[in-house]
C-alpha cells in the first residue's frame, strides 16, 4: 500500500460519522492519511512521488554516502635496518603517519584507500672480499607494503632500488676499498598508491604502510678515510688509510599521507 485512497467519503446531507473520519486519518490496516505518510510513502509505480523525482543534493544526509578519514605528516623520518625486522618477519615496522584508520557503524561496501609518500633510501651494494659470503643482488632487501586491516596486500609490495656502493677492500683490514658513494638523490621518488576494498562491513578498518629491511651481509666495511666529509670529521691528519665501519640500510620518508574513503555501495 502506498497511494493514499481515503476509505470513506463525506456526503452532504448525511450525519457526520466520526469513526469514518478517524479511519480516513489513520487506519492501521488501510490507507488512511497518516497510515501512509508515517513510513509508507513509496517510490516507483503506484508510489507517492511526483515523477520524475530525483534525489537532490540537499536531500542527502551529510556524509552518509562518502566520508574522508585523512591522516598526514610532513616531518621527515628515517628507519634503519637494526630497528626493522627482516623480510621474513611479517610483522614489519609500521610507518607512522602513512596510515589511516576509522570506525564505521554501517556496511559501506566499498572503501578506497589511498596513500602516498616521498621516499629515498640508502640501500647499499656491498662489495666484499672474495673470502666472505657474496650477497645476492637482492640483498639487502628493503620492502614496503600495505596492510589492510592487518593483512598484507601482496599487490602493493614494493622493493626499493640500491642506491649506494661500498667496497670492503681486500679484507685484510689494511687495504680499504676505494668505492663508496651514493646516488640517493637520484633515487628519490614519490609514490602515490591505492587499493579498492570491496565487501567492507561495519567495524574498525585501517590501512598501514610497513617496512622491512635486511641487514647488509658482511656489514663490517673497511673504508677509505677519504669519504667526503668524513675526512673532516676525523679531525686528524692521521696515518691510517681507513677505518672500520658498520653498514646499515636506511629508508627515509618525507611528506606523506593516507586516507580511507568509504563509499556507499549497497
Amino acid at each position: 500500500m502506498a497511494q493514499i485512497i481515503l476509505p470513506n467519503t463525506y456526503t452532504d446531507g448525511l450525519a457526520f460519522d466520526a469513526d469514518d473520519h478517524a479511519q480516513n486519518l489513520y487506519d492501521a490496516t488501510g490507507s488512511g492519511l497518516y497510515s501512509e505518510l508515517n513510513g509508507n510513502l513509496a517510490a516507483g509505480g503506484g508510489g507517492n512521488l511526483n515523477a520524475p523525482w530525483n534525489v537532490r543534493a540537499e536531500h542527502v544526509q551529510p556524509n552518509c554516502l562518502v566520508k574522508f578519514f585523512p591522516h598526514s605528516n610532513h616531518r621527515s623520518v628515517s628507519l634503519y635496518n637494526d630497528a626493522a625486522p627482516d623480510a621474513n618477519d611479517m610483522t614489519y615496522v609500521q610507518l607512522g603517519d602513512t596510515s589511516a584508520a576509522f570506525y564505521i557503524d554501517y556496511d559501506p561496501g566499498l572503501v578506497l584507500w589511498q596513500w602516498q609518500f616521498f621516499v629515498h633510501q640508502f640501500r647499499p651494494e656491498h662489495i666484499v672480499p672474495a673470502a666472505q659470503p657474496v650477497p645476492s643482488p637482492e640483498q639487502p632487501k628493503i620492502l614496503v607494503k600495505a596492510f589492510l586491516d592487518g593483512t598484507q596486500i601482496m599487490a602493493t609490495i614494493r622493493s626499493l632500488a640500491k642506491t649506494a656502493l661500498f667496497d670492503s677492500g681486500d679484507g685484510t683490514g689494511t687495504v680499504p676499498g676505494i668505492n663508496h658513494y651514493t646516488w640517493e638523490d637520484l633515487a628519490a621518488q614519490w609514490w602515490s598508491m591505492q587499493w579498492l576494498a570491496t565487501g567492507v562491513t561495519a567495524g574498525p578498518h585501517s590501512i598501514s604502510i610497513r617496512v622491512s629491511m635486511e641487514e647488509p651481509i658482511g656489514s663490517e666495511v673497511w673504508i677509505d678515510r677519504n669519504i667526503g666529509p668524513l675526512t673532516k670529521l676525523t679531525g686528524a691528519g692521521n696515518d691510517r688509510t681507513g677505518y672500520s665501519h658498520r653498514l646499515y640500510s636506511r629508508i627515509t620518508f618525507g611528506v606523506r599521507s593516507a586516507v580511507g574513503i568509504p563509499m556507499w555501495a549497497p
Binding site: A2, Q3, T11, D12, D19, A22, L25, L33, Y34, L37, N38, A42, A43, G44, L49, N50, V55, R56, A57, E58, H59, V60, L65, V66, P70, S72, R75, L110, Q116, P124, E125, I127, M154, S159, N179, Y181, T182, W183, E184, D185, L186, A188, W190, S192, M193, Q194, I227, L233, N238, D239, Y243, R246, S249, V255, S257, I261, M263, W264, A265, P266
Partner: protein
C-alpha cells in the same frame, strides 16, 4: 518524521473546530519536512533518480602532450620539449602553476577530493644517446666521480586557495633536508692508539648523504591525491611544481645551465566535490490547507475536497521540495557509484615478469588490438599465471557508456628494470605505460593522455666484481585516466574493462628494450556526472 492526529474524534465527542483541526494539521505541517521516516526503505533507492550534482560535482582539466619520441616504423628519438603544451619549468626554485592541471570550483560546505598527475622529463638528452646534463654525467659517475650524479630534484604539490595541502607535496618539508650515510665507524673516539700523538678516530658519525628533497629520476609521472574540507565560495585548486633548491654543507650550487631544465608533459587534475551542506537546488514545497474557524461550514466540500482529498492528493504526488534538508539517509539512496571494478597481479617472482614489446608511438595510440610478446605495440600487464591487469565491472556486465558519468581509473605498477641486452648503462632506455579501455564493439584502445614514461635511472649499480650491472629502478609508476561519458562519442559501445599496458623503446629501433614489472593493481570508479 512520524506524525499522528492529536485527537481522534469519537461519536460521543462534541464536534468543535479545535478537535477537527488538530486531527488534520499535523499532516499539513509535515509536508515540506519529509525525511527517511516517511518513506519505505525497501525499493525506494531503486526507483528514484539522482539529480545532477546531487552526490558529487566533477571538475577537471587536462592536456595531452606528445613527448615526440617517434615509433618503431619511423624510428625513435629522445624526448623533446618542442610539442605544443610543454611547460618548461623555471629553474628559479619558486613554485610554478602547472597549466591545465588547475581548476576553479564554486562550492558549498564540501569536501574536495583531488587527484592529479603530471609527467616530467629532465631535459635535454644529447644526440648520442647519453644523458647530456652538465650537472649530471653518468659517464663521469662511472669514471669515478659519482658525486656528479644528481637527481632531477623536482617537487610537486597540490595548492588550494594559495595554500599547499598538508601531506600533498612530493618532497621533504625542508628543502635543505639531508639524511646521513647509514654508516657508523666502529672505533669512533676510542680508537686504540699506541702512537704518539694518539690518532683520533672518526665519530660520532655524522656523514651526510646526498641532498634528496625532490623526485630524482630523469623521467617519471607523479600522481598526487588530496582531500580537503572547504567552506562556501569559490576555490582555486592548482598543481604546482618547482625545482627544489639545491643544498649542500657549504655551498648552494645553482642550476647553472639553460640546458638543464625539466619539462612537463601530459597532465590532468580531477577535483570531485562531495557536498556536505549544499545550497538548495529545488524550491521548498509547502501545503496550504486552511484551518476550520468558528462558524465555518462543515461539508463534503470543505472537509472532503478542500482538506482530506487535498492532503491525499499532495501526499500521492510528493514533490522534490517536500523533503527536508538532509532528509534521506543511505538506506533510501542509490549508491554513490554507478559501477566499479578492480584487478591486480601479484605473486610474481622477485625477478619480475618481462616484455620486449616496442612502443607503437603516440599517434598510433588510439585503437588497436593487443600485441603478443616480442611484437610491436602494447603489452597488457599480466603475471604469467593467468591473471592480468584488466578491471571489469564488479557487478557483471559492462560499464555503461551511455549514462552521463565520469570514469576515474587509478593504477599502480612496480616497474623493476628497463634493460637492453649488451648495455645496461644507458639512462636512455625507456618504458611507456598507459591505461587502455576495451569496448564491446571497438575492442581495445589505449587512452592517449594516460601515457607515462620512466627511464633507466639506476645505471650506477655495480655488482660484487665492481662491474656495472643493470640496476633495478623499482618505480612505483602511477597512472590515471579520466573519461567523461558526456563528451565521448561511444554511445552503444560500452566499456568491457580497463587495463594497463606497457612497452619499451630506446633511440635505436633495432635494439629492443626489456621492461620488467612485478606487482600492480588497478581501480575503476564510474562516478555520477555532476
Amino acid at each position: 518524521m512520524y506524525r499522528l492526529p492529536k485527537h481522534r474524534l469519537r461519536p460521543a465527542n462534541t464536534l468543535d473546530v479545535r478537535r477537527m483541526n488538530i486531527g488534520i494539521s499535523p499532516a499539513v505541517h509535515e509536508y515540506g519536512k519529509l525525511d527517511q521516516h516517511n518513506f519505505q526503505a525497501s525499493g525506494f533507492s531503486g526507483n528514484v533518480g539522482v539529480g545532477a550534482g546531487a552526490y558529487n560535482k566533477n571538475t577537471y582539466g587536462s592536456r595531452a602532450v606528445d613527448p615526440d619520441v617517434g615509433d618503431y616504423t619511423g624510428g625513435y628519438q629522445l624526448p623533446t620539449a618542442a610539442s605544443p603544451g610543454v611547460i618548461q619549468l623555471r629553474n628559479a626554485t619558486a613554485w610554478q602553476i602547472v597549466d591545465n592541471a588547475d581548476v576553479s570550483v564554486s562550492t558549498g560546505v564540501s569536501w574536495l577530493w583531488i587527484n592529479t598527475i603530471v609527467q616530467y622529463i629532465w631535459m635535454p638528452f644529447s644526440a648520442a644517446g647519453d644523458w647530456g646534463h652538465l650537472t649530471h654525467s653518468y659517464a663521469g659517475a662511472l669514471g669515478g666521480n659519482p658525486q656528479s650524479a644528481f637527481g632531477a630534484n623536482i617537487q610537486f604539490a597540490i595548492r588550494v586557495d594559495g595554500e599547499i595541502i598538508y601531506g600533498a607535496m612530493t618532497g621533504h618539508r625542508s628543502a635543505r633536508h639531508r639524511e646521513r650515510y647509514a654508516l657508523k665507524a666502529t672505533p669512533e673516539r676510542n680508537f686504540p692508539t699506541s702512537t704518539s700523538p694518539p690518532i683520533a678516530g672518526p665519530g660520532p658519525q655524522q656523514t651526510k648523504s646526498h641532498h634528496a628533497v625532490g623526485c630524482g629520476p630523469e623521467a617519471m609521472p607523479v600522481r598526487i591525491f588530496g582531500c580537503v574540507p572547504v567552506t562556501p565560495g569559490g576555490h582555486t585548486v592548482e598543481l604546482i611544481a618547482r625545482r627544489a633548491p639545491k643544498g649542500f654543507d657549504q655551498e648552494i650550487p645553482w642550476y647553472d645551465s639553460l640546458s638543464d631544465f625539466v619539462a612537463l608533459f601530459s597532465r590532468k587534475m580531477l577535483v570531485t566535490e562531495f557536498p556536505t551542506w549544499p545550497a538548495a537546488t529545488v524550491a521548498s514545497a509547502s501545503l496550504q490547507v486552511a484551518a476550520f474557524g468558528d462558524n465555518d461550514l462543515l461539508s463534503a466540500a470543505t472537509l472532503g475536497t478542500d482538506r482530506m482529498a487535498a492532503l491525499a492528493t499532495r501526499y500521492n504526488t510528493v514533490q522534490e521540495g517536500a523533503v527536508a534538508r538532509g532528509g534521506l539517509g543511505r538506506e533510501h539512496l542509490p549508491g554513490l557509484l554507478l559501477a566499479y571494478g578492480a584487478a591486480h597481479i601479484d605473486n610474481i617472482p622477485y625477478a619480475g615478469r618481462a616484455t620486449d614489446a616496442r612502443y607503437p608511438g603516440w599517434s598510433a595510440t588510439t585503437e588497436f588490438a593487443n600485441v603478443i610478446l616480442g611484437d610491436d605495440g602494447w603489452w597488457v600487464l599480466d603475471n604469467n599465471g593467468g591473471a592480468d591487469m584488466r578491471a571489469a565491472h564488479a557487478g557483471g556486465g559492462n560499464f555503461d557508456s551511455d549514462v552521463a558519468s565520469l570514469i576515474l581509473v587509478l593504477a599502480n605498477v612496480n616497474v623493476r628494470q628497463i634493460t637492453r641486452a649488451g648495455s645496461e648503462l644507458e639512462p636512455a632506455l625507456f618504458a611507456q605505460l598507459a591505461i587502455g579501455a576495451n569496448r564491446v564493439v571497438s575492442n581495445n584502445a589505449v587512452i592517449k593522455d594516460t601515457q607515462v614514461i620512466v627511464n633507466n635511472w639506476n645505471v650506477l649499480n655495480r655488482d660484487q666484481t665492481d662491474a656495472a650491472i643493470a640496476g633495478y629502478v623499482d618505480y612505483d609508476v602511477a597512472l590515471m585516466a579520466v573519461l567523461d561519458n558526456r563528451q565521448l562519442v561511444y554511445a552503444g559501445d560500452d566499456w568491457q574493462d580497463f587495463f594497463v599496458t606497457i612497452s619499451g623503446f630506446r633511440p635505436d629501433v633495432a635494439d629492443r628494450v626489456t621492461v620488467t614489472w612485478r606487482n600492480a593493481n588497478i581501480t575503476v570508479l564510474q562516478m555520477r556526472a555532476g
